[in-house]
């Protein structure tokens, strides 16, 4: 059978994107030993794909900005379902976290007087996103990586965790395998930080990489932690739609921030047709004002293209459904039109949006300085996730912490662009710090060998099946089903059907067959990922069924309005003693009085 090596770390960080790296750096700075698990190679995690920028009220471009405005914008964007304490900490601490990156070598674009430049983004009142062209995520992950490798963190690359280990109520480590050779390892640890990112691979059309299979959500759930707000899955309004093989690849909101406009096939700027009341005061009522806003006119209001992502995505779906879409089932996003306004438009576009220029030129034969892009919504970001304490990031399971996309609370019903890069810095740091403090107060626990052997045995079962199913096929069918039945526009009947389909898929997943051996075996990896994808899919479907209203990213055609009487709750998902998924509603905690006043003042 399988012998395994054991590693001991005071703090084990699972996931090496921005949140995981930041947590590992912080934990290490507190003098504990740290192990960092990367599902892929170091520096390749999904943070690398973030484009537009990191939101922080540095007030370098507009001195009217401050943490209170950022806090209010975040709460409004999240339709007030956010954990207010997280929103407060995030708004207050993001500027320091960004400046700290500069001290570690990051080079952001500059203002004329040499400060960090900030750009406009959807739902942010003032220019707030520190950025590096449209490759901010790469700059961030590389900065954290290059700093982190000198901080004494032990890195395990291409390693997948398949189960957390517990001792009594407390988390005491994790079990996983290296993808290269398929050997199992046990990690004993005093505290674990989950920083595994999102769930986008449960859907057919997504901007997410293969790693986004809900591992952290699922590991925490199976360890008894609560998940909240799982119905709130963000569909980014602008993904590529053509050619088919690039469907879903992200087109940054920065295109709209730099003046890009959305048009239907009739050439109409349809975003002006529907402006929500919550944003009416802040939105331009004519095209000229919108343009001036993108060019830094402080007295202009934002163009409707820069409304929140949930709203823009729905407007695009409306146009497509009404038959006013582009030839390949999207709408047009045009940045080339700015040549009417500025003389050197092509150079400006290439300078401000180099990756977008490159991406369309290379993958779609489109020159974005000359012609419009075709775009449509793509599964992008999970607002829901592991329920954590706002200050410490500890989940409902002692010793288990979570940060970044796999944790929930900050973004409520809808995340603002740029708030996820700041989220992972602020709460990555906090998770690392409090995990280290927790580790200092607790010891290593003995590993339950029988338990380990049973999990290992289970994970190897697909190799022995003679007549099992192809794991890739099960994954494709799951992705199609979630896309069709629990997508952007939802209703009761379809989601009930999804729950039934999920049961069938669950059975099929139990009977997949893996060929070959354990070395870097894509089929085996997919077979194991499937369990996590099915868990998060079930949580999404149950939470979406429970919420009988439309709010933020969750839109139901059978309940198209917001219901403030009955809608102000967090959906809570948990595993029962007999292994079933249980869902309930928790009423929202009361917002602290001074924060309430800030929201009222800045309305």
């Amino acid at each position: 059978m399988n012998t395994y090596d054991t590693f001991d770390y005071d703090v084990l960080v699972i996931g090496a994107g921005g949140a995981g790296l930041r947590a590992a750096i912080e934990a290490s700075a507190h003098g504990v030993t740290v192990g960092l698990i990367c599902k892929s190679l170091l520096g390749k995690a999904h943070t690398v794909m973030a484009e537009g920028g990191v939101a922080a009220a540095l007030s370098n471009v507009d001195e009217r900005d401050n943490w209170k405005v950022h806090f209010t914008d975040t709460m409004r964007g999240g339709q007030y379902l956010n954990n207010w304490r997280m929103a407060e900490l995030h708004a207050k601490e993001a500027p320091d976290r960004v400046r700290e990156l500069e001290a570690w070598g990051a080079l952001f674009d500059r203002t004329k007087d040499g400060k960090i430049l900030q750009r406009n983004f959807g739902g942010h009142k003032y220019p707030r996103l520190a950025h590096v062209g449209d490759r901010t995520g790469l700059e961030m992950i590389r900065t954290l990586q290059d700093h982190g490798i000198h901080q004494g963190v032990s890195v395990h690359m291409e390693f997948t965790i398949i189960s957390l280990l517990k001792s009594g109520d407390r988390v005491s480590g994790a079990l996983g395998y290296d993808r290269e050779r398929g050997r199992f390892n046990v990690f004993r640890s005093k505290a674990v930080v989950l920083a595994t990112g999102g769930v986008g691979r449960a859907y057919k059309i997504t901007s997410n990489s293969w790693e986004y299979t809900g591992d952290g959500h699922s590991l925490a759930y199976r360890a008894g932690a609560e998940l909240i707000d799982m119905e709130f899955l963000q569909f980014h309004p602008t993904g590529m739609v053509w050619p088919p093989s690039v469907q879903g690849i992200l087109v940054t909101e920065g295109v709209r921030g730099e003046g890009g406009i959305l048009l239907n096939k009739e050439g109409r700027r349809f975003m002006f047709d529907d402006i929500p009341d919550l944003y009416r005061n802040q939105t331009a009522d004519n095209e000229e004002e919108g343009w001036r806003y993108t060019q830094g006119d402080r007295n202009a209001r934002r163009p409707p293209e820069l409304l929140t992502r949930d709203h823009v995505a729905r407007c695009i779906v409306r146009e497509i459904k009404a038959g006013r879409g582009s030839p390949h089932g999207g709408v047009f996003l045009d940045i080339s039109w700015i040549k009417e306004k500025i003389p050197n438009a092509a150079e400006v576009i290439k300078k401000k949006l180099p990756s977008m220029y490159h991406q369309f030129k290379k993958l779609a034969d489109i020159d974005i300085t000359k012609e419009p892009m075709e775009v449509g919504p793509t599964t992008h970001y999970m607002m829901g996730g592991i329920r954590v304490d706002a200050d410490t990031q500890m989940s409902t399971v002692p010793g288990l912490f979570a940060a970044g996309e796999c944790a929930a609370g900050l973004h409520g019903a809808n995340r603002l662009g740029g708030n996820s890069l700041s989220d992972l810095l602020v709460f990555g740091k906090r998770a690392g710090e409090y995990a280290a403090l927790f580790a200092k107060e607790h010891g290593f626990e003995k590993v339950d060998d029988t338990k380990v052997k049973s999990i290992v045995g289970e994970s190897l079962q697909p190799f022995g099946r003679a007549n099992g199913e192809n794991p890739f096929q099960v994954q494709y069918d799951l992705q199609d089903m979630m896309q069709d039945l629990v997508g952007i526009v939802r209703n009761e009947a379809e989601m009930q059907q999804a729950v039934t389909e999920l049961k069938k898929l669950q059975e099929r997943a139990q009977n997949v067959k893996v060929v070959g051996n354990r070395e870097y075996n894509g089929g085996w990896h997919t077979a194991l990922d499937l369990q996590n994808l099915l868990t998060v899919s079930e949580a999404i479907a149950l939470a979406a069924l429970q919420r009988k209203e439309s709010r933020g990213a969750h839109f139901r055609e059978d309940y198209p309005s917001k219901d403030d009487q009955n809608g102000k709750f967090n959906s809570v998902v948990r595993i029962t003693a007999d292994g079933q998924m249980e869902i309930r509603k928790d009423s929202l905690p009361e917002i602290r009085e001074d924060l309430k006043q800030i929201i009222a003042e800045l309305k």
Binding site: L41, G114, W242, S245, K362, Y520
Partner: protein
Amino acid sequence: MATVSFTIFRGNSPDTGAFETYSTETDEGMVVLDAVHKIQAEQANDLSVRWNCKAGKCGSCSAEINGMPKLMCMTRLSDLPLDKPVLLQPMKAFPLIKDLVTNVSWNFDVKKKIKKFKPRPPDNTDGTWRIAQEDVDRVQEFRKCIECFLCQDVCHVLREHRMHDQFIGPRFLVYSAALEMHPLDTEDRLPDLKNSEGIGLCNITKCCTAVCPEEIHITDNAIIPLKERVVDRFYDPWHWFLRLFKKS
């Protein structure tokens, strides 16, 4: 659409591995990685391929396509001759793991040995610096690097001469250039570049520049300026004379 054949290296050792040919249906706009995924899902579930973003941003899916080091996610089938099978092989400069996947961990070890960023004291009391955009631009070119290691793969010092223990390769010369030209950095990496990192071994054939998917001017903008600095410091007669004078 059209049926296309792919001849893919299979196996976990260059000696025992062999090429296998697969035919698959292709669709408009497909890239090589799409075809590999289709083959993996439909015909060879255990095919090993490393990838992440499929958008040219993470630099994971490096391989040799018809003999050329490329990212599989950014190579469109329509840009390849399809009348004969497309040849797919793992990178040759690194040890093979299996099929199209190689062990690139040497790169991570090399990076760790390069002296880290060391900023000058902050310009302002709030701990911040003032930096001009022009000073940022120069280094941002190098910081575009996605660490796909295709430049390492094509570099003959590593690929043919296997001098991994004496030469850090183009990727880490770019990395060193980014640090040396960083407007805030105060560290001195020139002695290491000359001595342990083998900058003299590069004879500027520009193969690295030719394969860079980020179109970084590796040779012209990174390596040559570093070589010039090393030469100025260690070989310029005037500097040499001054050093003598200082010593005495």
